[in-house]
Symmetry: C2
Subunit: 397 residues, 2 copies
């Protein structure tokens, strides 16, 4: 018999995906260039030329076995060494290859992290607003995701609610900074306070509580914003990184888990990831992509367009009287809707070919997300539509 | 706390891996060319030039978003279409894109197949000799792998033992033909009889029993051998394919699940795979590799060396008086050891720099496996060592 729980999931279609499909269908009618599609977080800038050049060079010169042979189960050693050296240089934390496990993107990294530190029934806390895929990612392991309500004042952590919800069943706290969907970067003060709470609670409960730090937006941080390294604040930190956004190659499924060397059993945890892989059919990111990424570790795609877009949108939102915390990074912005039900608000926006995502599924009703990884020229045209939408639908706001 | 079950697995090191590491260490002493390393099933022939040419052409001409963007969660549509068309043309089964789910190699395909049709506590039966990784692959899902003893006469299925072991808890039967480690191809008669038993038992138990057909060696079949398509014999067949061996790119993690269109809910099962992915951090094989493989679907690497090697080894084994069923495909051969304990036999072989793998972990004690995906010149030199080993250690056999 086929398994009912997966079949049941088919009816719960993601609102982001529905809106993206609407945008595509509408684009077929009026030209996709006329649809202001802010639905999907799909990088819009090209991969660095050095990555492409390196791929071609390797294909022309390296042996088939070197390029396409099995990767060792923890990842290709020289790739792990290069990543550890880059992290050490950049953050001053003594990572070695033995702290790095190569994973197929952030989703692959998180799949390992959850299994490292939770058993069925254990709880993982995360903070609203949050990436809705965390629900199936965690809950399908048998662990339970609990969401701490948002601090809508600045989208830092709501510590009061957090301290009420943390319990002896809490084995890990899942954070995402810079944050999808708010665009907010957790401050030094937030991370210090988080570490203090977790240290005290680990002591009180008599077991370690881990921070699982999902960092795909680490390289997209705007001018004047300090984005502190999460691992520097708390020993028991499992960093989950993806090159999807920094290098604009989300389809190539490449990232890593980096266990803080200060973690008691850091090296054991890395080899445990190799065991977890056997149960989930993982078996390493593609060899040729591992090798190519190792050559461009300290490069990024040209990410400047995201900040340009953010400033244009943020300024217009302010001018139109929206409530919105200014993003510190990512390619998302997270304003408050102009009426209580953000679903209704986003529905009305569709008439103006504005594809905005209501934030109910992000754990923050009343808000909406715009993913501005699109051309700046289109952003500029969209703002005309946004003004018309607001002035027509909410004339007395 | 870190999870004990994965930590416990670290002590159970695979005998294949241990022997492979021994071979590498011995190679450092005497030159790897002098170590007759039959331990690992790592393809030795290069990827087809057309694959490399296509990769370079795409990197030079296609946009970054096309090559490296997110793949749809079931795989890139035109790739699924091309695979379905190829399967339909070749096997006469009416596959469409809606029956194909792109997976990261056979391991990824199997991870989805097991979750499609079993819940924790359900049983999957497989047949000795079998690929030992099936143990963690299945058991870490919560289902239970049970192994039907081998039919050592010809390594077809031991139906007597099978019918004793099948029970209402059996939700799937996992087969692998051409087989690792025996090299045997299941005959038409075996597959017909298997289908008949499963049809009768499905009826008797009142639930479907699926065949999960692991087919990474499908393209490596030797002259005069008929390798029937498993799906043609039984409607409820989930084909798990990998391009690792046929195209010699095991590191690129590319394969697929193909659900037999005759399966009652075939198309639903494919979209369910997309849900399963969310729980195991899968998210599709690499986009660029999907696109490149679609261009060389009906090609293979030059696989002829495997048959050449097989014939050399088989003839020598016969001449030396071994008991061995002649392989019909793969790059494995599976002779009976010259003493009861194959571990002792293989240990003695090490003195002659012959790296042979005892088959206890393959569910078939007393036998050993040779993976002859190595250069023919080395095979020829190894046979001198094999003769010396046998004549010295077993003079009175």
């Amino acid at each position: 018999m086929i398994v009912q729980k997966y079949k049941d999931m088919l009816s719960g279609k993601s609102v982001i995906r529905q809106l993206s499909e609407f945008a595509t269908a509408r684009g077929a009618e009026i030209g996709y260039e006329n649809v202001f599609d802010y639905s999907l977080g799909n990088p819009s800038v090209p991969v660095p030329q050095q990555f492409t050049d390196k791929m071609i060079e390797m294909l022309q010169t390296e042996s088939s076995a070197t390029l396409h042979g099995y990767s060792p189960s923890l990842g290709i050693t020289k790739v792990r060494e290069a990543i550890a050296a880059s992290l050490k240089e950049r953050f001053g934390i003594p990572y070695t290859a033995n702290h790095i496990f190569m994973a197929s993107g952030a989703a692959g990294a998180l799949a390992h992290a959850f299994r490292l530190v939770t058993e069925p029934g254990d709880e993982i806390l995360t903070f609203a607003p949050f990436f809705p895929e965390y629900n199936p990612y965690v809950n399908l392991t048998g662990a339970v995701l609990k969401v701490v309500p948002a601090n809508t004042a600045d989208f830092q952590i709501n510590f009061e609610a957090f301290e009420e919800m943390i319990s002896p069943k809490t084995m890990a706290v899942l954070i995402n900074t810079p944050n999808n969907p708010s665009g907010i970067v957790y401050s030094k003060e937030t991370l210090e306070k988080l570490a203090a709470v977790l240290t005290a609670k680990s002591e009180e409960y008599g077991h370690d509580i881990f921070v699982i730090s999902d960092e795909p937006y680490r390289e997209i941080v705007f001018a004047g914003v300090d984005a502190p390294c999460v691992s520097a604040f708390y020993d028991n930190t499992i960093m989950c990184y993806s090159f999807s956004k920094s290098l604009s190659l989300p389809g190539e499924r490449i990232g890593y888990v980096a266990i803080n060397p200060a973690c008691k059993e850091a090296e054991t945890m890395v080899v445990m990831c190799g065991q977890i892989s056997r149960g989930i059919g993982h078996n390493c990111p593609p060899s040729i992509i591992q090798l190519a990424v190792a050559e461009v570790l300290d490069l990024t795609a040209d990410l400047s367009v995201y900040e340009t877009n953010m400033n244009l949108i943020y300024n217009e939102l302010m001018d139109l009287g929206f409530t919105c915390v200014k993003p510190g990074g990512t390619f998302y912005i997270f304003p408050k809707a102009l009426e209580e039900d953000a679903k209704v608000f986003c529905e009305k926006a569709l008439k103006y070919d504005l594809i905005l995502v209501p934030a109910d599924s992000f754990g923050c009703p009343g808000y909406f997300r715009m993913a501005y990884c699109i051309d700046t020229e289109k952003v500029e045209r969209s703002l005309v539509a946004l003004r018309k939408f607001v002035e027509t639908e909410y004339p007395n706001r």
